[in-house]
């Protein structure tokens, strides 16, 4: 009885205020990984394709990938990175305005319940830019 009395409140307390549950991946080194090469993400939990349209006021854009068209929201916490590895240059921070029609992107969606919202977006900067 005594053990239960101790264990139950401890479990409740630590579960309520304890460890975080999401985002175990370290995003800071992720920025340097080129489009299509993120381990465990590319090809499984991300979309890759070309931008078909952009709606800046609504903060959405549409990508055509192998499965068809996907419209994706850019949330306040969405990170946008410019993949310039083709130019042998370091990754740069990007913004919504870097989502240009025709550019190739990779989008990690937030989770299975929010597949229409981007966690991060990598934008391939063409070699001629």
């Amino acid at each position: 009885m005594k053990r239960t009395w101790i264990a139950v409140p401890l479990a409740l307390a630590l579960c309520a205020g304890g460890g975080a549950r999401d985002a175990h991946a370290q995003q800071t080194t992720e920025r340097f990984i080129p489009v299509g090469q993120s381990p465990g993400i590319s090809g499984t939990r991300s979309y890759q394709g070309a931008i078909i349209s952009v709606n800046l006021p609504l903060k959405t854009f549409t990508v055509r990938d192998a499965q068809g068209l996907r419209t994706i929201k850019v949330a306040p916490g969405t990170r946008i990175w410019l993949d310039r590895s083709a130019q042998q240059q370091t990754t740069a921070d990007g913004s919504m305005t870097d989502l240009e029609v025709g550019r190739r992107v990779e989008v990690l969606y937030v989770d299975d319940r929010r597949r229409d919202t981007a966690d991060w977006i990598k934008v391939v900067v063409p070699s001629d830019e």
């Binding site: 409140p9 985002a23 991946a25 370290q26 340097f32 990984i33 465990g40």
Partner: protein, 425 residues
């Protein structure tokens, strides 16, 4: 003559037979210790040294030549600034990490110790996903141990701070990630202990009782069976590893900060961090000092005593423990601190003996060397607190026998040492 010819052909055929394909673990081991990924010369083994229990202590660093790739920041002009802090590396074994981003390299970074990779097979999984590195979020991609190597190459192997794949390093292939993960999971213990153990030493046995006592030591709540996982009786079945804010960041007089070097506060898991850090396994603790994510405590006794202090008891985890009764999270007297430390020393020595016996069974020269190191560690952790002198005598004998490659008698001496520490069940 015909017989001689046949024998010669047989020998020739044997010589021509290709060497057996290396196993995945062997391939992973080779990559871990030899592959630089076209970077600055470092390998995974540069920091996770097999000779230093897959970690990196200041004492070991002091034995390395100046040309060792660990010191690349001292020899490569491109990495002279904002890549490492050589003074803190040499004095405290601290490595520079950019968990909070690469935007302001001169002011935004963490200085962390190198966690050993032993027993990873027991410690990486959690109900909430994989946990890697000191704050549980050390890997890019899907956050898995497999993906960890990619992040490590980007952080530690780069030739310049531009960190451009194909220029400053190459990223590991999918196959290489698989192989290195297999190797990392193969090191050390493959399963947790089942406590209590029938320990023979009175002090260690008392330490074990305090460790398990939910109203006194409370250690088993988060380090279940002295491993890295939380107690399923408290946190639920399958909880696995957890992060906690134990207040290490609030310790006063931390050695690295005393130097006057810039050591920004480390906020742990996430960006911005929530102050939580990963729970490491304790079985391997006693021979892998210094302790905590910032190497702020040098001895196992000091690490236990940390939970007695204000930094822990005023931290979220300490306050939550206090809320379950007793008014304060953990309060131990000096004898109790030493008893818990003695328990940790003894279970570490038992693991050293298990590993040494396993190494001796492998039969190679390299495995003999590693068995000797495990035996040395067992001697160190026991003799360091004056524990079990009879066991230490057997271990010293085993050490001598390993040196002479007398494997059978060395195994017997190790078995005799073990029998001094724990009764057979």
């Amino acid at each position: 003559m015909r017989l001689l010819l046949a024998a010669s052909l047989t020998v020739l055929a044997a010589c021509r037979r290709p060497a057996p394909e290396p196993t995945q673990v062997e391939r992973g081991r080779h990559l871990f210790f030899n592959e630089t990924f076209a970077g600055n010369g470092r390998t995974c083994g540069t920091c996770h040294r097999a000779e230093d229990n897959f970690g990196l202590s200041p004492a070991f660093i002091a034995t390395l030549p100046p040309t060792d790739p660990l010191f690349i920041a001292e020899t490569s002009p491109a990495l002279a600034k904002n890549f490492e802090n050589p003074r803190l590396m040499r004095a405290f074994g601290l490595i520079l990490e950019n968990q909070d981003g690469f935007g302001r390299l001169d002011s935004t970074f963490n200085m962390r110790g190198v966690p050993h990779t032993l027993a990873l097979a027991t410690s990486v999984s959690s109900r909430d996903g994989p946990r890697t590195g000191w704050s549980g979020d050390g890997a890019p991609g899907d956050g898995s141990l497999r993906a960890f190597s990619t992040g490590a190459v980007i952080q530690h192997f780069t030739k310049t701070l531009n960190r451009v794949p194909g220029v400053d390093f190459r990223l590991p292939t999918s196959q290489e990630l698989d192989d290195m993960e297999a190797f990392m999971r193969s090191t050390g213990r493959q399963e947790d202990l089942t406590l209590p153990l029938p320990l023979r030493g009175a002090v260690a046995a008392r330490g074990q009782l305090i460790f398990l006592d939910r109203t006194l030591g409370k250690c088993n709540n988060c380090h279940f069976n002295a491993g890295a996982n939380a107690n399923p009786a408290i946190f639920g079945a399958g909880v696995g590893n957890r992060n906690f804010n134990t207040g290490v960041a609030n310790l006063p007089d931390k050695p690295a900060k005393l130097t006057g070097e810039l050591v920004p506060s480390d906020d742990g898991f996430g960006v911005p961090g929530n102050g939580e850090f990963n729970t490491p396994p304790l079985v391997e603790a006693a021979d892998t000092p210094p302790f905590f994510h910032d190497n702020s405590v040098a001895t196992i006794e000091g690490a236990v005593a940390f939970y007695n202090g204000d930094a822990f008891n005023n931290a979220p985890s300490g306050r939550l423990l206090a809320g379950t009764g007793g008014g304060r999270g953990i309060t131990l007297d000096a004898t109790q601190v030493e008893a818990i430390a003695a328990f940790l020393r003894v279970i570490n020595a038992l693991e050293n003996i298990r590993a040494a016996v396993a190494r001796l069974g492998e039969g190679s020269r390299e495995s003999l060397r590693l068995a000797a190191e495990e035996t040395d560690d067992a001697i160190m952790v026991l003799a360091g607190a004056g524990l079990h002198p009879e066991a230490v005598a057997h271990l010293r004998q085993a050490r001598e026998l390993i040196h002479r490659a007398d494997v059978d008698r060395a195994m017997q001496a190790l078995t005799d040492a073990r029998a001094q520490l724990v009764a057979s069940r």
